[in-house]
């Protein structure tokens, strides 16, 4: 079974600085997707960024970028120029593209609570 691990329960960053959240996963599959979701204090979970395993280029979305290391099974999220609105719980998630049994199921990590200090 696939597992996703976020080893940092809490992180903090100063406003305008850069922070990196870590995520590792375990899978025997070669075709899959990885995601970072953000859950602000209001609790509505939203997608931040996603990465297809077959793509070597790291995904970027404005201030958010990932460092995808397929061989190491590592998928970290970098937030540049951190803003107060970035404060949230961040979840790393995995989806296997071709699993007949899992269908559209996501496997989530434990989450990292990010605090942004003014």
């Amino acid at each position: 079974a696939q597992t996703v691990t976020q080893s940092q329960p809490e992180m903090s960053v100063q406003e305008a600085e850069t922070v990196t959240l870590s995520c590792t996963y375990d899978t025997s599959e070669s075709d899959y997707y990885l995601f970072w979701y953000k859950q602000p204090p209001s609790r509505q979970m939203i997608l931040v960024i996603r990465q297809e395993a077959y793509k070597q280029q790291n995904a970027t979305e404005n201030r958010f970028s990932v460092n995808f290391q397929k061989a190491a099974k590592s998928f970290s999220l970098k937030i540049s120029d951190s803003q107060l609105g970035d404060a949230a719980m961040y979840f790393c998630a995995y989806w296997n593209a071709w699993s007949k049994t899992s269908g559209s199921r996501l496997t989530f990590g434990e989450g990292t609570q990010l605090t942004v200090n003014p």
């Binding site: 593209a97 199921r105 996501l106």
Partner: protein
């Protein structure tokens, strides 16, 4: 604007009560999901449904059941609530996968307390 709504933000129930959590999506999505969120454990899948009247067990289905009579509505049922079911419950929906991934859209969550 995509929207997933849940019937309650906060709910307090007594041990042994039957509890219904309702989720409605207005995006005509085939897939719907119920997750449970607990500190240090992330989100764990309870059940999902890929079509009306179809359901599949997730990772922690024990003590729960689900109902999907209409495409837009997916209900989570706690037949006899217990204190260890005190948690945050999140509903999500997505388009049906056919080798592609579609984003899951989440509801705001229901904080259930069982006393």
């Amino acid at each position: 604007d995509v929207k997933v709504t849940q019937s309650s933000r906060y709910l307090v129930k007594r041990t042994g009560e039957k509890v219904f959590l309702e989720c409605v999506q207005d995006m005509d999505h085939e897939n719907m999901f119920w997750y449970r969120q607990d500190p240090g454990l992330g989100l764990r899948l309870i059940y999902f449904s890929y079509d009306v009247k179809m359901k599949e067990k997730g990772d922690i289905p024990e003590g729960y059941s689900v109902s999907r009579e209409k495409k837009e509505r997916f209900s989570l049922i706690l037949e006899s609530a217990s204190t260890n079911q005190t948690s945050m419950y999140l509903c999500a929906s997505s388009l049906l996968t056919s080798g592609r991934i579609y984003e899951q859209y989440f509801g705001p969550g229901t904080r259930l307390t069982v006393t």
